[in-house]
Symmetry: C2
Subunit: 319 residues, 2 copies
């Protein structure tokens, strides 16, 4: 089935002259890397090709070579085909709704993909859309140069959390082994992707991490983040904070409580068997066993008190 | 040459009945993982085998299965062969000098290896000694089970900085692809190796990183670490601190000044073309262009003032 669909897609691309690639909104390393690799591959096949995105490129991906592929507007009448990359549903393209007036090929690796394209290649066993683009370019006999290899390395390395997430497979490493034969500088790419933190984020993280408090025999790590400090440093994302606390030896539950405009958001992570979704669901939130959260119209201190009481109850129960 | 030496080593192992494996002192992930994989492989070949080390296992490696291979003493008369793993010279085994009374096979990947064994297999193109042990076990027709695969994954992942260092090659990923076919839990291994920080180290790091000061238009990040705070948290290693500061976007030079008993130690890192070895050499120290250091009998504040003056001079010079 997959082989047949791949052939259909290649035939459709071969019949096309000018192609617009659409990564999902707020494109991550996989969306950006896959789009660039495909654009460069299609150019080698003499297609007219652009990538359209309204978002600014994330700072850690700016080192990639974008040439003039990446645009925020174009005359869609000049194109005959759209290839959507790494989007699970059409909503993830909706910021560019006025361009969605040509046939869409939908290439993705998300299980939840809604098959919104005219042709759909969805492989949820692929660690990244980059893996699928690798295979597509191989099938189309595209010559893999250093840039294409770096783009695909970026796509795969970011979506696998640098080969640490459970989506990483033997095939992932086989593809990386082949990409590495094309003279790519893995140290430089890795430094850009994983070792490149904005100054404000560094200062914010250090201040917050220095405030973490430990309870229940150091098995619970908890920190509150005020509206003021978030605004001062302009840091919206605190996922890395709750993960950093979870990563402490002996910590079983990590809690970050963030003050927003009219409520506080409680984000929790746990190791092994401790179910934080249970607590979240009790308060109208959701998530998975090891990662869950909820919102509440209260103060930081009151939320912290509540969480600590709930955890005390759990610890009393599990002994 | 290498093929012949590998064959000689295999013949020597086949002729042996009881083997002591010696990883280098303060064994890292490569030394520990390679030793365990080799021990388990040799046991499958019906050898009597122990690994001797006087050091405590580093906390991030304790998740590996040591069984009863790992010992701190043994009766060397009961063994007929020593295999040294990952040691560049005999000094790295000298804490166990009383056991060095049998023929030594020296297997290593360090360029600086002194060929101290009776037989020496040194491959400086291997990213880790684990790569060499992988090939050795393949040549000896050892069946790769999950444990051996996890041991070798650990060896290679740690010595390549999770595949980010420049020693990582296409062959590295090919080997990892093969190891991953043996049902290993990469997420669990990675969490143990790279996302598992002792509580005291977490608190120490947060306190120190919250004290970093920035100079020269935020291109210089510098922090001092007092004797007192190091003692309070028992943290000797500050390499990750100087690296964390170097990893800030826009920072070109990172400096950590550590107060020791009778002197201060200045450790510097730089990006791209900025040569910190020059400054280190001027003060009787050494290192490479992007990583250098020196010691000085002075105070933290005086050392900081000195470094900032030197950097001001450099910045005045390079404009």
């Amino acid at each position: 089935m997959r082989v047949m669909m791949m052939k259909k897609i290649i035939n459709r691309i071969n019949a096309s002259k000018s192609i617009v690639i659409m990564p999902h909104l707020k494109p991550d390393g996989d969306a950006v890397g896959s789009s660039l690799a495909l654009a460069k591959g299609l150019l080698k096949l003499n297609k007219k090709v652009k990538i359209i995105s309204l978002d600014e490129i994330s700072y850690e991906l700016k080192f990639l070579d974008f040439h003039d592929f990446w645009v925020s507007s174009l005359n869609i009448d000049e194109y005959d085909l759209i290839i959507s990359l790494d989007s699970s549903d059409i909503d993830r393209l909706k910021d560019r709704i006025e361009f969605l007036v040509k046939p869409i090929i939908n290439i993705d690796h998300h299980k939840t993909n809604t098959f919104f394209g005219e042709l759909n290649f969805v492989d949820s066993e692929a660690s990244a859309t980059g893996e699928i683009i690798y295979n597509l370019l191989i099938e189309m006999n595209v010559d893999f140069d250093t840039e294409i290899s770096e783009d695909l390395y970026t796509a795969i390395a970011t979506d696998t959390g640098n080969f640490m997430y459970s989506n990483t497979t033997s095939i992932t490493h086989e593809i990386i082994a082949k990409l590495m034969k094309n003279n790519i500088d893995v140290t430089e790419i890795s430094r850009n992707l994983f070792q490149n933190i904005p100054l404000k984020k560094f200062i914010f993280d250090a201040k917050v991490l220095d405030q973490v408090e430990f309870y229940n025999n150091n098995q619970v790590g908890i920190v509150t983040i005020s509206h003021e400090i978030r605004n001062t440093y302009g840091c919206k994302n605190t996922d890395n904070i709750v993960e950093a606390i979870r990563n402490i030896e002996g910590v079983e539950i990590s809690v970050v409580i963030v003050e927003k405009e009219n409520e506080v958001k409680i984000s929790m992570r746990s190791k092994s068997d401790f179910d934080v979704a249970e607590i979240a669901v009790n308060h109208g939130g959701g998530g998975h066993k090891n990662a869950a959260g909820f919102g509440m119209a209260t103060t930081l201190e009151a939320a912290k008190k509540l969480i600590l009481e709930e955890l005390d109850n759990v610890y009393a129960r599990i002994g």
